[in-house]
């Protein structure tokens, strides 16, 4: 697993993918930060004096969700599909490593790059702290929330990548599924049956994540994201296994 993790992580930076992911992530997060925090006073929807900006980062983290939903498919699209296409899966699958080790190695490599992206939010928070007092609990709560959300999304992305040899197809599948999971609560509002609404809301990434943006640490949401991550890693292992038995 360690060998695969190291190779995958390095390959993010020997190919453009890692740089593209981080550059777009930093750019969008920067725009998000400027709009929701620095310029907040003038666009002013939820208070704050004209032109003074806000140290309130809840909005910033909420928008970050959308950025992550869009960017994670870029991060994970090649993880397994490229191996299949280039036939490098043959060396992985014929080495004395078990399948879960392979999947875990890929997962943690993507996760580490994702964490590098998230680190920028700390920078923003520090900048805010120079002018005002951000609520550090909210900031750290958010970062934990983002890590959990990211783990779930990366796991789904890797699963999508295991289904196809084509990176683009893989990216589209993961974008669609992560997007769907994040917007389940929107869909549920169109369904007039209460029980279905409740279930969909419980499964919705946005609903689960929104608590974290207010700085609430919700254990059940944390467990939910971890379960999704583990479940899709397990599905990925099953896909690889099934391919062997096909």
């Amino acid at each position: 697993m360690k060998a695969i993790f190291r190779r995958e992580f390095v390959s993010y930076f020997t190919t453009p993918i890692g740089y593209i992911f981080l550059a777009i992530f930093f750019a969008l997060a920067g725009i998000d930060y400027s709009v929701t925090s620095i310029a907040k006073g003038s666009s002013g929807s939820s208070g704050g004096a004209q032109g003074y900006g806000t140290a309130e980062l809840t909005q910033f983290f909420l928008w970050l969700l959308i950025i992550i939903v869009i960017l994670i498919p870029i991060l994970t699209m090649r993880t397994l599909s490229e191996d299949k296409r280039q036939k490098t899966d043959q060396i992985l699958l014929t080495s004395p490593v078990n399948l879960s080790g392979i999947v875990a190695g890929k997962f943690f490599a993507s996760f580490l790059v994702y964490m590098m992206g998230l680190a920028i939010t700390l920078v923003f928070s520090v900048v805010v702290s120079a002018f005002s007092k951000p609520d550090w609990l909210t900031v750290f709560g958010n970062i934990v929330g983002l890590l959990l959300l990211g783990a779930a999304c990366i796991s789904i992305g890797i699963f999508a990548s295991s289904l196809t040899e084509n990176q683009v197809v893989s990216a589209v599948i993961s974008l669609a599924s992560i997007g769907l999971m994040s917007l389940l609560s929107v869909i549920s509002s169109f369904i007039p049956i209460e029980i279905i609404q409740t279930i969909l809301n419980k499964l919705c990434f946005l609903e689960r994540y929104i608590g974290f943006t207010y700085g609430q640490f919700d254990l059940s949401s944390a467990l939910y994201f971890i379960s999704v991550a583990v479940a899709f890693m397990f599905f990925t292992v099953r896909v690889l296994e099934k391919r062997r038995w096909a």
């Binding site: 360690k2 060998a3 695969i4 190291r6 190779r7 390095v10 390959s11 020997t14 190919t15 280039q86 036939k87 490098t88 899966d89 043959q90 060396i91 992985l92 699958l93 014929t94 080495s95 004395p96 490593v97 078990n98 062997r244 038995w245 096909a246």
Partner: protein, 322 residues
């Protein structure tokens, strides 16, 4: 040592491999011969645990690849048909990755250097794989299989894409490796198998059609009573003269190059050597024999006979290699 018993692999209705059995002993090089699509790569993929078998057992040094895959895989070095190279890595990084992947215990630097010397890739050691030529890529693939010094080497068409010099080098290398490894090597190049292997398994449409040493294969299928002869003389008269020789069963003209030269294929009765008589008759009439050869069966003929079903007369040969 590799033991394969009754191995089958079905893809839907298609039987890619259909109940094959063979054994490769320690220190033996087994050639796996067959036309494209015969099931060679499928068999190798099963042996290395890349895909599963539908039925049957594959044992690597007595370990079942399905029951104890991790332990069995530790004993195997595999070069697939398309070498599994990460194009964005340098040769050094790649081999180092494989070293870690296989959890190799040998001293890293000296071991990798030794392998590079062996397959002659020291001069590209620090280059990015995607910029290498096909021959070098193939050799990096072979190097990858040798990492960890596994007992069993499974090489799927190892000399594809190499130039003639490199082919000879790699064959010599494989022969050397074969002394203390079990090697299975697949090929559709007959001369290659003939040159390198101790034992040959011919496979066609998923079934083994022959499994023997090379000499035995030739012995069983050879027919010494066929000769072909090229004669400078009027072809219709020549044919009559040949037919009149005692012991000749069939004479057929295979080609007529120019006005003077004509070529015949002659089949005689078992145990009758008609060459002396033929020479006498031809020279008596002041014609000339330009060429006379017995058509002993090469692996090519054996191969065609086994896979197509019957002997094909006057097979055009083009030198053997690719």
């Amino acid at each position: 040592m590799i033991e394969v018993k009754n191995l089958s692999k079905h893809f839907g209705d298609k039987k890619a491999v259909d109940g094959i059995s063979f054994t490769a002993e320690d220190g033996e090089i087994l050639g796996f011969l067959g036309p494209n699509g015969a099931g060679k790569s499928t068999t190798m993929n099963i042996l290395t645990g890349y895909i599963s078998s539908t039925d049957g057992v594959a044992l690597i040094d007595g370990i079942d690849i399905l029951e104890n895959p991790i332990k069995a895989k530790q004993k195997i070095g595999y070069l697939p048909e398309q070498p599994p190279l990460y194009m964005d890595m340098t040769v050094k990084e790649y081999l180092s990755f494989v070293y870690d992947l296989k959890k190799c215990k040998l001293p890293r630097n000296t071991h990798l250097k030794d392998i590079c010397n062996l397959v002659k890739i020291e001069n590209v050691y620090n280059r990015v794989i995607k910029n290498l030529s096909k021959g070098y890529k193939q050799r990096v693939g072979l190097a990858q299989a040798l990492v960890g010094n596994p007992n069993v080497l499974i090489l799927d068409e190892p000399t594809v894409g190499l130039d003639p010099n490199q082919i000879i080098e790699i064959r010599t290398l494989i022969k050397r490796l074969g002394k203390n490894h079990t090697v299975i090597l697949s090929s559709h190049i007959l001369s290659e198998v003939q040159a390198v292997c101790d034992k040959i398994v011919v496979i066609n449409q998923g079934k083994i059609v022959a499994d023997d040493t090379e000499e035995n294969l030739s012995k069983n299928l050879v027919n010494n009573n066929k000769i072909s002869v090229k004669i400078d003389g009027p072809f219709d008269e020549v044919e009559k003269v040949i037919s009149s020789i005692v012991g000749v069963k069939v004479v057929s003209m295979t080609s007529k190059d120019t006005d003077e030269f004509c070529e015949f294929s002659i089949e005689s009765e078992e145990g009758v050597d008609i060459r002396r008589e033929l020479f006498k008759r031809i020279s008596e009439r002041s014609w000339y024999i330009m060429e006379l050869k017995t058509s002993d069966m090469s692996l090519e003929d054996i191969f065609l006979r086994l896979t197509v079903g019957e002997s094909i007369p006057a097979v055009q040969r083009n030198g053997g290699n690719e």
